[in-house]
Symmetry: C2
Subunit: 105 residues, 2 copies
């Protein structure tokens, strides 16, 4: 097991809820706030907190607009977000693959 | 991507430093505090904090004794710790394997 690979896992992505958010966004050109909240099964407040962290890191964009008189929030993953997500998964894959080498079981 | 698999990742193990500690302990019958600290490249205080969390969860045992006049702390992974670690890795493997199914890249 390469311990430094574990320690270098991107902390922005490593939190399960943010990993879930990015996983949904990776598969789409953009998702509404409501769609994300329901897909991830979390509260408005919790989703909002983690989306802000992802936005500050430059991994997602959050665009607010109106559809008629109804406000709509569209979240999308950025190019940096996509790259960081794939990079994170490459490390995760390495960790998973190397597991056997270090364990007697 | 199965989002519930992501959300169900054991939070005790998911923290990178605790994952690193357990990875070292999985490969041994027991390690001294100093060995662990050097392998993981962390401080005494930080290692101590996370070992306590693992001990409270029942994943490791921490035994203090004396070798001559020198105090020695031996840390070892428990059966529950081993099972939980392998379970965690099974979920991680599932997440890594399912990545492709959900991403257009």
């Amino acid at each position: 097991m390469n311990l430094s690979t574990i320690r270098e896992l991107d902390p922005i992505i490593h939190a399960p809820i943010r990993l879930a958010i990015l996983s949904v966004l990776m598969a789409s050109d953009g998702a509404t706030f409501g769609f994300l909240r329901d897909a991830i099964e979390t509260s408005d407040g919790n989703l909002s907190t983690h989306l802000t962290k992802l936005e500050v890191a430059g991994y997602v964009t959050i665009n607010k607009s109106f559809v008629g008189k109804k406000p709509q929030t569209i979240c999308a993953i950025t190019e940096l977000g996509r790259k960081s997500y794939l990079n994170y998964f490459n490390r995760l894959e390495e960790i998973v693959q190397n597991k056997g080498a270090n364990t007697p079981i």
